[in-house]
């Protein structure tokens, strides 16, 4: 897993460190946890366990599904077009993360109970926010 990380918790003290001291650090627990949460979501979707997939979503993403389509989360996720595949890159910045797999780009946020997916099935639109099949587009 390629991991490019900057933790906001580093703050000023870490910011004062030479850039090289922070670059190229190895696997980060936060990146691994974010990738695990993403894999849990896509695995649940691919196996048809939409209840588990819904549990991996952030509350706002669940609410968005309900508000946008008037259906509950599990039902809405049945037709979601979300790719999968091995993780290629994880970026963690503060309480936000982006996990790129070979078939998808997923955005996550860290809450009190760990990482949750805020958007999945996302397609790049250049400088515009990603357009996502699940969760709110930016």
């Amino acid at each position: 897993m390629r991991s490019r990380l900057r933790r906001s918790g580093a703050a000023l003290a870490a910011a004062l460190l030479p850039a090289g001291a922070l670059a190229g650090c190895g696997a980060d627990p936060a990146a691994e946890a974010a990738a695990t949460a993403q894999q849990r979501f896509t695995t649940a979707l691919s196996t048809g366990d939409t209840a588990a997939a819904c549990a991996a979503l952030a509350p706002d993403a669940v609410e968005h599904l309900r508000a946008a389509h008037g259906r509950d989360c599990a039902r809405e996720l049945r037709g979601a077009r979300v790719g999968g595949g091995p993780v290629r890159e994880v970026q963690v910045w503060g309480t936000q993360a982006q996990v790129r797999t070979t078939g998808d780009t997923v955005f996550l946020t860290r809450g009190p109970d760990g990482w949750r997916v805020i958007a999945a099935g996302c397609r790049s639109r250049g400088e515009l926010p990603y357009a996502c099949a699940v969760g709110a587009s930016g």
């Binding site: 703050a11 910011a15 946020t109 805020i118």
Partner: protein, 225 residues
């Protein structure tokens, strides 16, 4: 309080007073910044973070560092620029026509050092040269360090915001060219340059009785004070 303690407080009044003001202002910035940060996160449909986590966040770090760098740049430029540039009638300036390079005798260094001169003023060449520019160099290094901190923390804070808005994070090189970095930088620089220039010019015509930053009230406008 003992007479010795009272004397220490009196003799270090500027450093102590501004140190306390700095801490009070930093605490105020932290409180107000936390409230603002919380509002922004709620607007982005993100969970609020604790005050402790905010204090160690890049969002707080960049707001602190961007102001530090401009202040140290201000003093770095002021220390060096006043070696070369003059402002007639300003107590902040050397008199017009003064030589840019001063002699060892004027600076009381090397063989002209006096009994109470710092040891470095009497020292050999490398040490004496370093000591001779230590004030400006320290300000310059603090500026560069603070600016680097602003860059690193700024990129971290910006990228967290990018991800929250479902956008890609920026690389080092992209952030170096980004409007966010240069807007934060330039908005602080312009105010410092304005403050330096206006202080030097105002001090030609205006007075502050009792302040070493001012000429004597009765001093003519065209004297350096």
């Amino acid at each position: 309080m003992s007479a010795r303690a009272r004397r220490a407080l009196r003799d270090n009044g500027i450093g102590i007073a501004f140190g306390l003001l700095f801490l009070a202002a930093l605490a105020l910035q932290a409180a107000a910044g936390f409230a603002d940060f919380t509002e922004q996160r709620l607007a982005d449909h993100l969970l609020p973070v604790s005050f402790g986590r905010y204090l160690t966040s890049s969002a707080f770090a960049v707001d602190v560092a961007e102001n530090w760098q401009s202040e140290y740049l201000q003093f770095f430029l002021y220390v060096f620029a006043t070696t070369w540039l003059v402002q007639r009638g300003s107590p902040e300036s050397k008199p017009p026509g003064s030589p840019h390079r001063t002699s060892n005798e004027q600076e009381r260094v090397a063989e002209h050092a006096e009994a109470d001169s710092p040891v470095s003023a009497r020292a050999g060449h490398p040490r004496r040269v370093v000591f001779s520019v230590s004030l400006g160099a320290t300000m310059g290094l603090l500026f560069l360090g603070s600016w680097a901190a602003q860059f690193i923390a700024g990129r971290s804070a910006y990228n967290a915001q990018q991800l929250a808005q479902l956008q890609d994070p920026l690389s080092w090189s992209d952030y170096l060219m980004s409007p966010d970095f240069w807007n934060r930088t330039a908005q602080n620089w312009q105010s410092e340059f304005l403050a330096i220039g206006s202080m030097a010019v105002f001090a030609v015509f205006l007075r502050q009785r009792g302040s070493p930053e001012s000429k004597a009230v009765g001093a003519p406008h065209d004297s350096q004070g």
